[in-house]
Structures are given as structure tokens and as C-alpha cells.
Amino acid sequence: MSIIRSLTLLFIALISLLSLPATAQENDPGRALLINLAEAPASKVEEAVNAIVSSGDKRARGWLEAYGNNRLSRIKDTGQVVLVLNNRGRDWEIADPLTGENMGEMSRRELDRVAINNRIRGQLEGILAMLDLNAADPDVREASAQDMMGKVDASLVEPLEAQLEREENASVRNRIEEALAIYRVSEGNPEAIDVLAGSLHPRARAALNDAVRGDDPALADRATKALESIEQKLKLNRAAETLYFGLSLGSVLVLAAIGLAITFGVMGVINMAHGELIMLGAYTTWGMQQLLPGQPGLALILSIPAGFMVAATAGIIIERSVIQHLKGRPLETLLATFGISLILQQLVRTVISPQNRTVVTPDWMSGSLVINDALSLTLNRLYVLAFALIVFAALMLIMRKTRLGLEVRAVTQNRAMARSMGIRATRVDIMTFALGSGVAGLAGVALSQLTNVGPNLGQNYIIDSFMVVVFGGVGNLWGTLIAGLSLGTINQLLEPWAGAVLAKIIVLVFIILFIQKRPKGLFPQKGRAAEG
């Protein structure tokens, strides 16, 4: 008997334990809000929705989204409001809107859809954006304010103004003001035009264009002026964008050419296999990513030393096996290294594949840096630009401040004299060639982030690289930097009206003509060393 009693007591205790959440739910203010919405007559629906919005409940977004998608229903028997997760077939999967807990399936006959009218449906997008304006993350708030531009209607003006009062983040405030101004301009408010005059957002421009075309001459006049000032700003931004793309293209050229500037400019070796050394660097990145699957970032960082080493080793092999036998015969080194480049290309085709390989771009390198509505800079190009400048600076330091740099300069200027002073010229040759080749490898690592990695990668850059070196003045690192950046920019400036191919042709012809005028490039070497 007592056993039964105690069991019953235990049972009761369990029941009460289980119903604890239920009691918590009873007190949930959300429940009342939802029931209010479900029971509201057509004229009060808007009020009910606004009540949900102003409650500040974090779950409100989900509810309203479900509401707009016809997925908010009531269980006929209990009157409980539920979220319909899946409304296909006879049985619908439902969940508790308050806890998010899955409640299993229920026949659709037992459910009663919460009705929505078209007016509310039309406003819902704006209302949802309003909800996001309460988010803790300012980026989310800004994005939602931006979403709202052009979508503001009379019903949103008041809550938006309230939001503006509360908002502390300046850029979010700007966005809200612009969104409001677009609405006000469409309502014929001339003051709002001044707010839009500073905006580069396409929707702001669209609103102003509408105003120009509108019936109100005063408004149209003011809008025209605002558009002009926007046009000015856009021009500036476009110029900045062209400059950025030009510099980024130029930085690629600099990276590809700067290794040549060392081997060609300093040693007088015309290394036609330079492009293939770049290719080796790019394939090293690809190989590294195959070794470390799922960690493209780490692989990329490790590729920097690895790409340098691989290309430098290849360079040493080329120098020892071929180039050292061709001292003082620069035209022959051209032919021999061209042969090497053919062999390397075919080697990659045979050993790896004739197809292009895709190198993954790590997350921190993809995406872009948004400066304003008209200008955003792609991150990978920004990194490559920075990388090129770092490589340049490092090379500059090596050539100016290290013993190797000193010896290299001595050997270049007067080989015999340098040797008699105890400099081991052969060793210097090897080191110089290794350095130039290694830098080509670094260029390959960077290029793998911008283009496809394939056997023809090197070929595409070799002529450009020589052009940069010759244009800049052989043997001059500064010349290479300036030549590369300016050629990239010129190319980018020409492209809009000439097209990519023609722009390239024009640049090539320009260099050919330029060399006629200044055969030794932008910054020719002066003095006795230049005569050699």
C-alpha cells in the first residue's frame, strides 16, 4: 500500500516537474502577444504586429517571418499558437514559437492558419528591417538600415524617427537619415534633398532622379543640383577605383618583374625561364594546400617560404647546369633559358596535369573592404599590393644593407676587380640568381590568389616582366617599381574605352616607342658601370 502511495507521490512530483516549463511559458509575455495577433480582427492586426515589434522580444523576427510566410498557425483544440516548420503533405511539422522546441507532426485539419492581410504583408519587409535596427551588432543595424532605403513608407516613418533618437552609431544614423530622406523626397520635401546630396547610394540617386522628373519645378531644380554634386563625388570615387585596380595590376607586374630586375639587371642574364619559376611558386601554393586540406590560410602562409625555396633551388640548378657556361653571352642565355622554360612547362603538364588548378583563397583574404557605396576594394588584391611592397622593401634592404648586396654591386661593376679584392664572384652569381628566382617564386605564391594556376601561367607574364624591367631601366629596383605601377595604371586607364586586348597592345607599342626615345629606360644606369 505504502509502496503504491509513494509511487503516486513520486508520479505527482514528476508531473509537476515536467509542467514547470509550462508554467514558465504561461508567464511568457510572448504568448500573449501571439494570441493577440492570432485573435486580432483585420482592423487591429497592424496594432498587434506593432505590439510585437515594440516588445523588443528577440524571437519576434522569427515570429513575423513565419507570419509573412503563412507559417503561423493555431491548434484548433488548445488555441496554442505554433510555428509550422514544414507545411507539405497531410501532416505538418510544428514547433513551439516560444521555446523553439519541436512538437512533432500534426494533421493539418487540426491547425488553423493565422490570417494575414495584404497590407501587412506589403509592410512586413520594412517591419522586419525595423526589428534588425534593434540588433546589438552595429554592422547588422547598418545593413538593415541600408535595406530599408527606398522601402520606407508612411507607417515606418514614426518608428524610424524613434529609432534615430535611440541610435548612437554615426554611420547607422546616417543610413537611417538617408532612408527617411528618400521617403521625404518622394513626398515632395525639399529639405530632404540636402541629406541625399551627400549620399552615394544608388537608391538615393534614383530618388533624386525621380524628383528631377517630377512635377515640382523647385524640387526638381534642387535635386538636379544635388545630383551634380553626387556625380562629382562619383567621378572621384571612380578615379580612386581605377587607380586602385591600376596599382594592384601594377603590383602584380612589379612582383613578376622584380626577380628579373635582379637576374637580368644585375647579372645581365636574360632568364626566359623566369615565368616558369613564377609558375613553380604558384604550384607550390597549390601543393601546400593539397598537403594541408581545410587550412588554406595556413597553407598560404607556409607557401611563402616554401615557394621561395622551391624557385630558388630551381634557380640554382639552372644557374649551375646552364647559365654558368654562358658567361658574357647574354643572347645565348636567352635561348638556353627559353629551352628550360619549355621543358618546365611540359614537365608540369606531364607530371601534374595540363589543366588549370584552383587554389583556395582563405576567408581572411576574400571579400572586400567597403569604403563607401561607390567604392569597395577587393581584399585579395589589397594583400597582393601590400605583399609586393614588402617584397620590394626587403629586396631593397638586401641590396643596400647586406654584405651580399655589397658584393653583388661590386661584381656587377667590375668583376675582375671584385675578384681581386677577394670576392668569390661565382658564389655571388649563384646567390644572386637564387635570390632573383626565389622572388619569382614569391610572385607565384601571390599570383595563385589572383589567377588560375596552370602550365601557361609563366608565359603570360614573361613578356610583361621584361617590358617592365626595360621600361624602368635595367638594374634599377626603383625603376622596376615605378615602371610596374605606372604601366598597370596606364593599362587600367586605357581599358574602359579601348578594351583589355587593345589596351595591352597600346601599352606594348608605347613601350616600344619609349625605348626609342630612352633606350636605357626611365632610370638608366650612369657612369662607367653602365658601359659594360
Binding site: I270, V322, H325, L326, R329, P330, L331, E332, T333, L334, L335, A336, F338, G339, I340, S341, L342, I343, Q345, Q346, L347, R349, T350, I463, F466, M467, V470, V501, L502, K504, I505, L508, V509, I511, I512, L513, I515, Q516, K517, P519
Partner: protein
């Protein structure tokens, strides 16, 4: 007369003798042996040999500027291709309304691209004499303008090589464009006849082969004539010591310009003869790779010998035919290896090997073996 002097030389007589003997033997074997005989030379082989002879003429042209003037042109493919395009335009106009679209005026590719009328630079190419003049004029003019600018400002050595390469690269990019009016990347093809002869008949092919042989002979004699003349002596002097030659009072840039233009025209003729034999001309002839390959033919045969260029061109192209036939992938390895081996181990080429014992020159430049013995 500078042109008849080479004919009195033993080496030129030998070269011409071998060339004409080869022409006669091939013609005889093609015409008078039965099809199934082992000695029979098929029409395909005749065309192939004709192609080799075109390349040989191109190589002679390159050797003239590289061997005797010291200018390593990495862009002679451009002159070759321009001559080829001039001939291709003539052949295109000869198709008449027999093209796929049957347009009596416009070539097929223009109909395809919706061109309404013939571009101005196509006018005149329906006349053979005009086209043949353009074969010489187009490459000649380009060489004249380019050479004038380059030599006047004393661009030499490596720089000149690199900008000749850029020149051909720029032309390649340009000719790949459909808007250029030269058929874009498909180039010009589907030729029917030349001077009224059907290009697909064996007789025409044989005729073209013989014509190429004669052109090579004439080109060779012209080059020999130049290099044995006083002009040729000066150009060798420019090659070996440009500054000294200038100090002696010679107008170095004029010598360079003249030789360069002649060489470009020869290359143009080679291209013009090449096109009807292979039946197509497209922008790939402008690729820097092709131009550099030509230089290697010359290097393999032996610089500054002229006949070496012919030997090199024929050998490498024969090897290419064989290699790409049996193992296509290995060809680039073989070609690359050839580049390296020739430059490192055979700086004087095959001609240098042949005449090693008679070497008298220690300057590192290939000696003129015939002169030494003459």
C-alpha cells in the same frame, strides 16, 4: 655585280647544286615512280618538303640579321606572318562566291561577323600582282618603320631582342581580334586556287614546291651577295664593334636598316609561299615561341653561314614531324633540350662541327669557312 659574285663561289655553287638536285630528284620520284613503290614521294611529302623549304628561307633571313649584323630578332615570325597574310588575302579573294555563304564579295568570316562591305585594306587583293607586291611591302614597311626608330636611337643587343619580341606579341594580340578584319583566331583558310590553278591538285603542289625551292635559291644568292659585298663587310664590322665602325665614318644605322628590311622581305616571301602549301594562316604565326624557334634552327645549323640556317631549319622541322607523330608530349622536351644543348655545347652549330678543322677565327664568332679556304 654583287649578285653574280656569289655564283662564282664554290660554296654557293655547292649549295645551289645540292638544292637543285634535291628539287629534281623529288620531282622525278613524285612524277615517274608508281604510287606503291618504296621510292615514291607522295603529294603529302612534297607539300611537307615545300613547308621545310619555306622555313629554310625564313631561317636564312634570320641568319642574315643575326649572323652578319648581330641583331637577334625575336620577331621575324611577324614578317613571315605578314607576308603570309598578304598571300592569304589574295587567296581569300580568289575563292569568289564558292565560299560557304556564297557571297561574291565578302570572305566567309566577314559574312559570319555581319560585315556589310569589304574593309579598305582588302581592296586590290583580288589582283595577283598587287598581292605579290604587298607580300614584300607589308613586312618591308614594318621593318623600315621599326628599324628606323630602333637603329636611330641605337637600341641594340638584348633590348632590341626584347622589343622585337614585344612587337610580334602585340601583333599577335591584334590579329587575334575579330575586329581587325583578318579572320580573328581562325585566320584565313579554305583556299581554292592560286593564279587559276586548283590548290588541291598534285601538280599545283609540286609547282609550289619547286617555286619555293627557286625562291630559297634566289634568297640565298641575295644574302650571299650582300654578305660578300662591301656592305656585308661593314655589317660584320657593326656586329663586332659597332662604336668603332661608327667612328670610322660609316652610317651604321643605315647599314642595319637596309639589311634588316631585306631580311624582313625575305621572311615575307617565305610566309607567302608557306600559306598556299599549308592552306591556312592564323595569328599563332605571330607567337613569340615561333620566332624564337626560328632562331634555334639557325643556332643549330650554325650562325653566319646561311647554309647552316637551311640545314638547321630542315633538321629541326623534320625532327618535329617525326616527334609529334610518334610521341606528341615529348616534343616540347626535345625542343627545349635542343635549345639548351645547342647553346651550351654547340655554339657554332652543325656547320661549326663540319668545319672544325678549318677554323681560323678565335673571336668566338663563326668563321666563314669558305672564305678561309678560298
Amino acid at each position: 655585280m654583287w649578285l653574280t659574285r656569289p655564283l662564282r663561289e664554290r660554296s654557293t655553287q655547292l649549295f645551289l647544286g645540292v638544292l637543285f638536285a634535291a628539287l629534281v630528284v623529288v620531282t622525278f620520284l613524285h612524277l615517274f615512280t608508281p604510287q606503291d613503290s618504296a621510292l615514291h614521294v607522295s603529294a603529302y611529302t612534297v607539300t611537307l618538303l615545300g613547308k621545310y623549304l619555306c622555313y629554310a628561307l625564313l631561317a636564312v633571313a634570320v641568319d642574315l640579321v643575326w649572323g652578319y649584323l648581330g641583331i637577334l630578332s625575336l620577331g621575324h615570325g611577324a614578317f613571315f606572318a605578314l607576308g603570309g597574310y598578304a598571300m592569304g588575302m589574295y587567296l581569300m579573294r580568289q575563292i569568289g562566291d564558292r565560299g560557304v555563304y556564297g557571297d561574291p564579295i565578302l570572305p566567309d568570316f566577314m559574312v559570319f561577323l555581319n560585315w556589310q562591305e569589304l574593309p579598305w585594306f582588302w581592296h586590290g587583293f583580288d589582283m595577283a600582282w598587287f598581292a605579290f607586291i604587298m607580300v614584300l611591302l607589308a613586312p618591308g614597311l614594318l621593318a623600315l618603320v621599326f628599324g628606323f626608330l630602333a637603329f636611330r636611337s641605337r637600341v641594340t643587343g638584348v633590348y632590341l631582342s626584347i622589343i622585337t619580341q614585344a612587337l610580334t606579341f602585340a601583333l599577335m594580340l591584334a590579329f587575334f581580334r575579330n575586329e581587325m578584319g583578318f579572320g580573328g583566331n581562325n585566320g584565313l583558310t579554305d583556299f581554292k586556287d592560286i593564279l587559276g590553278f586548283n590548290l588541291r591538285t598534285d601538280a599545283t603542289r609540286l609547282g609550289l614546291f619547286i617555286a619555293t625551292g627557286i625562291a630559297l635559291a634566289i634568297g640565298y644568292v641575295i644574302c650571299r651577295g650582300i654578305v660578300t659585298s662591301k656592305l656585308g663587310r661593314v655589317s660584320v664590322a657593326c656586329r663586332d664593334a659597332e662604336a668603332r665602325t661608327r667612328f670610322l665614318g660609316y652610317r651604321v644605322e643605315r647599314v642595319q636598316l637596309f639589311v634588316f628590311v631585306v631580311s624582313a622581305m625575305l621572311a615575307g616571301v617565305a610566309g607567302a609561299l608557306y600559306v598556299p602549301q599549308v592552306g591556312i594562316i592564323n595569328p599563332s604565326e605571330f607567337s613569340p615561341l615561333f620566332s624564337i624557334e626560328v632562331v634555334v634552327w639557325v643556332a643549330l645549323g650554325g650562325r653566319a653561314t646561311l647554309y647552316g640556317a637551311v640545314i638547321g631549319a630542315i633538321l629541326v622541322n623534320y625532327a618535329k614531324t617525326v616527334f609529334t607523330g610518334i610521341m606528341p608530349d615529348a616534343w616540347l622536351f626535345a625542343l627545349g633540350g635542343l635549345f639548351v644543348l645547342v647553346t651550351v655545347f654547340l655554339p657554332k652549330g652543325i656547320a661549326g662541327l663540319l668545319f672544325r678543322r678549318r677554323k681560323t677565327d678565335d673571336t668566338g664568332n663563326t668563321p666563314d669557312a669558305q672564305e678561309a679556304t678560298a
